[in-house]
């Protein structure tokens, strides 16, 4: 089964890297996101606009006060850009995982799926190959965004090391595994890409905003909080932040990391399982 998954994953990856425009989009997209979100939510910047005709000393002072306020809301030394960039990694995973089911739609359309269905391979490996390639794509993009975010001024704690980096990737791997399986399971019977896009468009923004990826949960209205608290993206964002904030003075918040990992592992396992189970009936022709 592993060799089947692997061979099919290679196929996906080959298809993907041969499409230069796709690779280019994957690089450019996170840059735009970071720039856009970084600017749009840069509250200091927003405040400066109406006060721009005041003397610069005063503007600067207000700016400092503002950043302190944000710091107190977001906790400790964390500035908003770092907060947002850390959450953005989970959003990147969301936005790549969403399309895991899309290639099933195309394979069904072009008949390639039939080839897989008459072959003596487990149906689950067809689904898991889609999930695996989606995970690879997601983590690849995460690596890009993470480097770009550093260039843009993401401030990690002074004790942030390779192990923390591995922790970040492990957490995002689990999130991607779960989300890719979730989306594939959700759209497995959908035959047209238009309908598939509709499902994605319905879910992407709510999933992103109803999480702690871009805003702290305690800043949200109650109803949104209750959604954000069950949203795996919140747990992944929190996990990533816990690793990024690793500083010599505070150390790692082990219990927080453990809790987030537990939730993410459960999420990934449950939805991969559902994906594999649904594959048998879901991929079937007609």
């Amino acid at each position: 089964m592993i060799s089947e998954i692997w061979a099919l994953t290679i196929r996906e990856v080959k298809k993907w890297i041969r499409e230069p425009i796709l690779v280019f989009m994957m690089i450019i997209q996170p840059v735009i996101w970071l720039g856009l979100f970084g600017q749009a939510f840069n509250l200091t910047g927003l405040v400066q606009i109406p006060l721009s005709n005041l003397p610069p000393e005063i503007t600067q002072q207000i700016g400092v006060i503002f950043n302190q306020t944000i710091g107190s809301i977001f906790g400790g030394t964390l500035d908003y850009f770092t907060y947002m960039a850390a959450g953005m990694l989970s959003v990147v995973i969301l936005f790549t995982s969403m399309f895991s089911g899309m290639s099933v739609v195309w394979d069904r359309r072009f008949g390639f799926l039939n080839k897989l269905l008459v072959a003596p391979i487990a149906r689950g490996s067809i689904v898991m190959a889609k999930v695996t390639s989606s995970v690879i794509r997601g983590l690849f993009q995460v690596a890009l965004v993470f480097s770009i975010a550093f260039a843009f001024g993401l401030k990690a704690g002074n004790a942030f090391n390779v192990l923390d980096l591995l922790g970040v990737f492990a957490g995002l791997f689990l999130l991607s595994l779960g989300l890719s399986s979730f989306f594939i399971a959700l759209t497995i019977r959908i035959k047209s890409w238009e309908a598939h896009m509709a499902v994605i468009n319905l879910l992407n923004l709510p999933l992103m905003f109803a999480s702690s990826a871009l805003f702290p949960i305690n800043m949200m209205p109650d109803w949104l909080q209750s959604i954000a608290k069950v949203n795996p993206i919140s747990y992944a964002s929190d996990l990533v932040r816990a690793f990024i904030l690793h500083s010599s003075s505070v150390g790692l918040d082990v219990s927080r990391i453990a809790l987030n990992f537990e939730v993410l592992i459960a999420f990934a396992v449950i939805f991969s399982f559902i994906g594999i189970v649904l594959a048998e009936r879901g991929l079937r022709k007609g």
């Binding site: 060799s3 089947e4 061979a7 099919l8 196929r11 080959k14 298809k15 041969r18 499409e19 359309r109 072009f110 008949g111 390639f112 039939n114 080839k115 897989l116 269905l117 008459v118 072959a119 003596p120 391979i121 487990a122 079937r284 022709k285 007609g286």
Partner: protein, 331 residues
């Protein structure tokens, strides 16, 4: 021993009964042909036998395994060359073949040899390292065929395999399939629109229409079934009707005179012809023209489906469909 056996195999789509309580058996090592007009239910039958669809009713065993309960065992023993193309456009021919070999668990070194062999056969060795999106429709079809052969299946299902291929390629491919069949005792279940092909290649043929099997047998039996050979004969002397005299000759079953031509139904055309001519000469008559007409599968087909296969032969709809498929894939 029957290697494929169906019992009341049925597939219903909504209100449409695409395959209607079909029962037949295919013997090991034979080439079994499925013939019928568009929409007759040929592809649907293949889809069920190859485990792509579950039957609504009835059952079937392929190589002794139930197509529903032991689907994966069935899959490992069969090969399918589907009607619609399933090769991956974005990969090269070679990559498609390697992937196929992997899907059927053919070891890499064995796969390499076989791929070389089958690619040469379908004359794609030069194009092997090009992306399939640069292939013509015929090349894609040939690649599809090559893929179906790579794991030397026990039973090969061919759904309109040579549709859209030129005569030369068709001949080469059939020669190879015949060779495979003989060397490896492969059983072949196929559908085709090329009557000559079915006639020359199939050991037995089933004619299917509206989801039901209308006739089944050896091509010769089917042809004999609609009334044997006919000798058409004209004499120089048209003053009299000699029908009665001819009817008394050996082999003759029935004689009809239509204007100046006698239509003589006979049991064995080749043997009857010289006898009849001799008989006529003995009556001191002279034959002006004579021809032996053997029934074609075409006529059999017409008889059972009420449609001529000739009308279907270019089979515009199928070709259009294939073109559509290719165009869609190219976008």
């Amino acid at each position: 021993m029957a290697i494929i056996e169906t019992k009341d195999l049925t597939k219903v789509f909504g209100k449409l009964i695409a395959v209607d309580h079909v029962s037949f058996a295919v013997e090991e090592g034979e080439i079994f042909g499925f013939l019928g007009p568009n929409g007759a239910g040929k592809t649907t039958t293949i889809n069920m036998l190859t485990t792509l669809m579950n039957p609504t009713e009835g059952s079937a065993k392929v190589a002794g395994f139930d197509i529903v309960k032991d689907a994966n065992k069935v899959r490992s023993l069969i090969g399918l060359v589907p009607q619609d193309l399933t090769v991956d456009e974005d990969l090269t021919g070679m990559e498609n073949m390697m992937l196929q070999a992997m899907l059927y668990h053919v070891p890499k070194d064995v796969a390499k040899k076989r791929i070389e062999e089958v690619l040469r056969l379908v004359e794609l060795e030069d194009a092997a390292n090009r992306k399939v999106e640069t292939y013509s429709g015929g090349m894609r079809k040939r690649l599809e065929l090559a893929e179906g052969l790579i794991h030397y299946p026990k039973i090969l299902f061919l759904d309109e395999p040579t549709l859209g291929l030129d005569v030369q390629t068709r001949t080469v491919i059939w020669d190879y399939i015949k060779k495979l069949k003989e060397e490896r005792g492969m059983t072949i279940f196929m559908t085709t629109h090329y009557m000559e092909e079915a006639d020359a290649l199939c050991n037995r043929i089933a004619i299917i229409d509206y989801g039901k099997i209308r006739a089944l047998g050896k091509p010769k039996e089917l042809k004999d079934g609609i009334g044997g050979d006919v000798i058409e004969l004209a004499l120089f002397d048209n003053s009299k009707d000699f029908s009665e005299a001819i009817a008394k000759m050996p082999y003759v079953i029935d004689v009809k005179r239509k204007s100046e031509t006698y239509k003589i139904k006979v049991a064995k055309g080749e043997e009857a012809l010289p006898n009849i001519i001799e008989g006529i000469l003995k009556m001191n008559l002279k034959v002006s023209t004579v021809s032996l007409i053997k029934p074609t599968l075409d006529q059999v087909y017409l008889e059972y489906t009420g449609r001529s296969l000739r009308e279907n032969e270019g089979n515009r709809e199928e070709v259009m469909r294939m073109m559509r498929n290719i165009r869609r894939a190219r976008q």
